[in-house]
């Protein structure tokens, strides 16, 4: 893309517009200035004189007044609809699934092995139950808590999601660390790791506008 540099008058005018847009939120401010910059470039490329272009666009104060009126009708970011399915949410689904898998694996492990010795001295082992039926209460509680913890962020939307996600990640790490002594902790480590990853992933706001290309010099 061709590098485009605006004439000094246009740069001064755009800076004045940017300064005048004090009552406008930064994303909208950037959008307005970008739009005006692109407009000026287009007009100049078509052969219009820079003075004429700026005269037609009006004064920075007029633009700021219009922008302030539009700002009143802009949906606050906190109220803007947010997507449910995000990368973080997918990781959290995986964490919850891993917690359920870990609980299932532990529950289905052989729970009671009966050894019988016959008259020839041969030992025969017979599994009579799975671990689910004679599981230690602490182990069962750990698994239930892990599943519930990983499920909580999936039920939260909006502004509360981030603090809940961070809290769940911390609690999962603590739970896994405390229960490694009973072995069960190692089973929930994968779910805890995914919870931490989900909490560390940056929140990508729904991109409605593209950032300015490098070829547009200020």
């Amino acid at each position: 893309m061709t590098e485009y540099r605006l004439p000094p008058e246009a740069r001064t005018w755009l800076n004045a517009v940017e300064r005048a847009l004090t009552n406008v939120r930064p994303p909208q401010r950037v959008e307005i200035v970008d739009g005006l910059r692109a407009h000026i470039i287009e007009a100049l490329e078509r052969g219009d004189a820079v003075g004429d272009v700026l005269y037609r666009l009006g004064s920075p104060t007029e633009i700021a007044n219009l922008a302030a009126q539009e700002e009143l009708e802009t949906i606050p970011t906190s109220m803007a609809p947010t997507r449910y399915v995000t990368v973080q949410r997918v990781v959290q689904f995986a964490a919850c699934a891993l917690a359920i898998v870990a609980a299932s694996v532990i529950a289905l492990l052989p729970g009671s092995v009966e050894n019988t010795v016959d008259s020839h001295g041969n030992i025969t082992s017979t599994t009579t139950t799975i671990a689910l039926f004679n599981m230690d209460q602490k182990v069962a509680a750990t698994l239930v808590v892990a599943i519930l913890l990983t499920a909580v962020p999936l039920l939260v939307r909006g502004r509360g999601w981030r603090p809940v996600t961070i809290s769940v990640a911390i609690l999962m790490v603590v739970l896994a660390a405390l229960t490694t002594l009973w072995i069960v902790g190692w089973f929930i480590v994968p779910a805890a790791v995914l919870s931490v990853i989900a909490a560390c992933l940056p929140t990508t706001a729904r991109r409605r506008s593209a950032s300015r290309p490098k070829s547009v010099a200020v």
Binding site: Q28, I32, L36, A38, E70, S209, R212
Partner: protein, 138 residues
């Protein structure tokens, strides 16, 4: 102040306020003000209607809207576009023009299309109602 002046003439206070209001309204009703007021709610849907035809860039839109008398000045468009983007009714993307210069293209979103549909459904009955009222013999 106006109220006070009338009050001196012995007109009751409530009447003074009414007269002041009438005076103000009469002063306000000019062609320019009527147009500004009418455009305010309509331009955003005209922009959405233009975007419904396909992606376009700000300069082209501004020229078109100004030629049709829908905006008072070219710069009016950009604060409006910023709001449409923030409210999720349109999207923008930088792209290269045929001449190799960067252009910011605006596109209608599904929410924008929905908003335009709602406007179109409301606009025709409203326009007809206004036309009927204006044509009604006094």
């Amino acid at each position: 102040m106006v109220t006070g002046r009338f009050a001196v003439l012995g007109v009751p206070k409530g009447h003074c306020q009414y007269i002041a209001l009438r005076y103000t309204l009469h002063y306000m009703v000019t062609a320019e003000r009527v147009l500004t007021s009418l455009r305010k709610g309509l331009v955003e849907f005209c922009v959405l209607a233009i975007l419904k035809e396909g992606s376009t860039y700000g300069f082209e839109m501004a020229r078109r809207l100004e030629a049709d008398g829908l905006i008072a000045g070219e710069s009016t468009l950009y604060p409006l576009l910023a709001r449409l983007l923030a409210n999720g009714l349109a999207e923008s993307e930088w792209s290269e023009s045929e001449a190799g210069r960067p252009r910011k293209y605006y596109t209608l979103t599904a929410e924008g299309r929905e908003a335009l549909d709602i406007f179109e459904q409301s606009w025709v009955p409203l326009r007809n109602a206004v036309d009927r009222t204006l044509r009604r013999p006094s």
